[in-house]
């Protein structure tokens, strides 16, 4: 589905929060590498997708009503075999239904397991005065505690993207520290610039998190994505 189609579908369903699968599709279109992720609505489909994208796989519950997927037992990682994918599907469906009986569950997202890398966040929000703002920072679950982030208004220029990356205190971690190899900062700049261009074309986006994005010596990949739309199209 195209970006317009995804937004349209969400509007029709009265949703402002896009699912992980939808969010990733949007960002892939913006040129940001994402972990291949597809929606499975049955156990058999989950197995088929896992075989297609390659094991090991990760399965996550897909529901507009469940924000914290792991809290409801909705995430299974490191699935090495078809048998593990099969039982993970069943386990996610039953534990999510048990923990959130009123939630509407669309299925399970099947994605490949990304190689470990340095975790960063790339995100965006709309400031009431200045419009879209792009944010970069050291990511993972600790981002809100560390607050080691940098921001710029859209449109972000190449020099801004470079400065954003170099502004954070955790920069040495990206430049190679202990067991971490130096990250590919060019691809990070490109992701920030790609996101800025995407936002210029999509005023309907209110908030967006790519968290975590895993940075490698060559390239990067967004493992999770979350897009929130404005209540009404601006």
């Amino acid at each position: 589905m195209t970006t317009a189609g995804i937004v349209e579908a969400a509007r029709r369903a009265g949703r402002t929060l896009l699912s992980e699968v939808e969010s990733k599709q949007l960002l892939e279109e913006a040129g940001i590498p994402v972990v291949p992720t597809r929606l499975a609505t049955s156990r058999a489909e989950a197995v088929r997708i896992a075989q297609e994208i390659g094991l090991p796989a990760v399965l996550k519950v897909v529901s507009p009503d469940i924000t914290h997927k792991s809290d409801v037992g909705g995430v299974k990682v490191g699935l090495e075999t078809v048998g593990q994918v099969r039982s993970a599907y069943d386990s996610i469906m039953s534990s999510s239904r048990a923990a959130a009986p009123t939630a509407s569950i669309e299925g399970v997202s099947v994605q490949s397991m990304a190689e470990p890398g340095v975790e960063v966040i790339v995100g965006a929000t709309r400031d009431p005065q200045f419009g879209h703002v792009v944010m970069f920072g050291l990511g993972g679950v600790l981002v809100e505690m560390l607050r080691d982030v940098s921001m710029r208004l859209v449109p972000v220029e190449p020099r801004d993207a470079r400065a954003m990356i170099r502004e954070i205190k955790g920069l040495p971690l990206l430049q190679g520290y202990r067991q971490y190899a130096p990250c590919d900062l060019d691809s990070l700049e490109q992701a920030i610039l790609g996101l800025s261009r995407f936002l210029e074309e999509h005023p309907e986006v209110r908030e967006l998190d790519l968290n975590p994005v895993l940075c490698y010596p060559q390239g990067l990949v967004a493992v999770d994505a979350r897009v929130v739309l404005e209540e009404t199209s601006p």
């Binding site: 929060l17 966040i121 995100g123 965006a124 929000t125 400031d127 009431p128 005065q129 200045f130 419009g131 703002v133 944010m135 920072g137 981002v143 809100e144 607050r147 982030v149 940098s150 921001m151 710029r152 208004l153 020099r159 801004d160 400065a163 502004e167 209110r206 908030e207 967006l208 998190d209 968290n211 979350r226 929130v228």
Partner: protein, 475 residues
């Protein structure tokens, strides 16, 4: 836009609506100021008095015989709409409302009055400044709202939402040698807003540096763009009021919850090359640095005038402000040793003036010699007043006056930024107090950037370095 605003800055004539006979009223002070200093015709508008300060009054703007370009309103707010009608009928180009109690009170009535005023003005092509503001200080044209503001003019332009803060910038800045091209207090920004005024000052050849006090912004995207445009041409220093007010952003993402109003303002300033001052003191320090020092090309600093422990502390403060204090290069040390073998061997940066007693070199000779070396980009020199003992007047020049000559020589000869530090503590000694004030006045008069502490000087210099780096990269 430039052309329209020129009517505000270059009016052919000024009328003061609500001109008053009572000396402590704005309608009196303002009228007196323009009457004494403005070169064109000035008309007092007042329905009761027949004359004010010897000038014949008119009951309405409409009654003025000649054309009126600019009207200043000190009338009560219930007379504001009628005044707009009068001004429109007269063909007035711009109307400044000192008059207050409109939308800023939060009342719907006040907001409605503003909307009506704006609609009438827009329909006639008349511009409104304010309401609820002090308006214009343009010393070159003889326009000012404060009686104590200097008439001497300079190249600092100011936009300020608050008239009180604008007045403080002018008065306090004046004691530190700042002189102004145009200062605009714009209050509620009903018509002319911060972006209009910023765009005007960015292109204004009389303005070389822009300062500002901003609370809210009407059109953030346009304002940000105008800042980027202005900063590529001249330094812009802003102080944001209301920074601690919590945002009402209901975030449902990490980014949303981390990007509060302050964080976004700060990011916007970095992006647009704007100096984001955190206090009035910081704003003034930064403006003094930009107005009175040349572009700094690097962060390597030579500090002089400190003594012992104070010098050590000042080194820490400068490093914390983001400047470096490189040690004295061997070649320079060699020169010092040649001149005085005993002393030259152990002089350091910061240069400790107190240990030079008996040396063949005076402290300022030492500073001048070291400052010439290309490894130093900036100099901070501490100056203290010298008080003649027993009240005897010496015919020889004082230590501090010789020091000033040397420091001035460093500044002009080397083209390097030189900041002076004169401690601003008030001594319990009248002679010292007087000498200190006199020294401060002299340094300011000689064109120096003067700061009360080394750390404030260092911070201002760092802002200078950052700005010129940003501008070079932005070019």
């Amino acid at each position: 836009m430039g052309l329209e605003l020129d009517y505000i800055f270059h009016p052919r004539s000024i009328a003061v609506a609500g001109a008053s006979e009572s000396p402590d009223k704005f309608g009196h002070t303002y009228f007196k100021n323009v009457l004494e200093h403005f070169s064109g015709p000035v008309y007092p508008i007042n329905g009761r008095a027949t004359e004010i300060l010897g000038e014949k009054t008119y009951a309405s703007v409409r009654d003025v015989p000649g054309p009126v370009d600019y009207v200043v309103s000190a009338v009560p707010n219930n007379a504001a709409l009628d005044l707009v009608d009068d001004c429109v009928a007269k063909g007035v180009k711009a109307l400044h409302f000192f008059t207050a109690r409109f939308s800023e009170t939060g009342s719907e009535e006040g907001a409605q009055m503003e909307r009506d005023m704006l609609a009438k003005a827009r329909a006639a092509g008349m511009r409104i400044l304010g309401p609820n503001c002090m308006g214009l200080y343009y010393p070159k044209e003889g326009i000012a709202w404060g009686r104590e503001f200097p008439w001497e003019y300079g190249n600092v332009g100011i936009i300020s939402q608050s008239g009180g803060n604008a007045g403080e910038m002018i008065s306090v800045g004046a004691t530190r040698g700042l002189r102004y091209s145009k200062v605009i207090s714009y209050g509620n920004a009903l018509d002319l807003n911060e972006a209009d005024l910023l765009e005007y000052l960015a292109d204004d050849p009389e303005t070389g540096l822009i300062g500002g006090y901003i609370e809210g912004v009407k059109d953030g995207r346009r304002f940000a763009k105008a800042l980027g445009y202005a900063s590529r041409r001249k330094p812009v220093v802003l102080l944001k009021g209301g920074r601690t007010r919590a945002g009402t952003n209901m975030a449902s993402s990490h980014t949303g919850s981390l990007a509060g109003a302050n964080e976004v303002w700060e990011a916007m300033c970095r992006q647009m090359g704007v100096v984001n001052a955190f206090s009035m003191e910081d704003l003034l320090d930064s403006m003094v640095a930009f107005a009175r020092m040349p572009a700094a090309t690097g962060v390597n600093l030579l500090v002089g005038g400190g003594t012992g422990g104070k010098g050590v502390m000042s080194a820490d403060e400068c490093e914390e402000a983001g400047l470096h204090l490189p040690q004295i290069p061997d070649s320079v040390r060699g020169e010092l040793v040649d001149k005085d073998p005993f002393f030259g061997a152990w002089v350091t940066n910061p240069v400790d003036g107190s240990i030079m007693g008996g040396s063949k070199l005076t402290p300022h000779e030492v500073i001048t010699l070291i400052a010439r070396d290309p490894s130093y980009h900036v100099v901070i020199n501490g100056v203290a007043p010298s008080v003649p003992s027993n009240g005897r007047r010496s015919r020889r020049p004082t230590r501090s006056s010789r020091m000033l000559e040397h420091t001035a020589a460093i500044a002009s000869e080397l083209g390097k930024p030189v900041a002076l530090v004169i401690a601003d503590h008030i001594p319990d000694n009248d002679k010292l107090l007087k000498a200190s004030a006199e020294l401060h006045r002299q340094c300011v008069k000689d064109g120096f950037a003067v700061f009360p502490t080394i750390s404030r000087a260092a911070r201002a210099i760092r802002r200078l370095v950052d700005y010129y780096r940003w501008r070079e990269e932005a070019a």
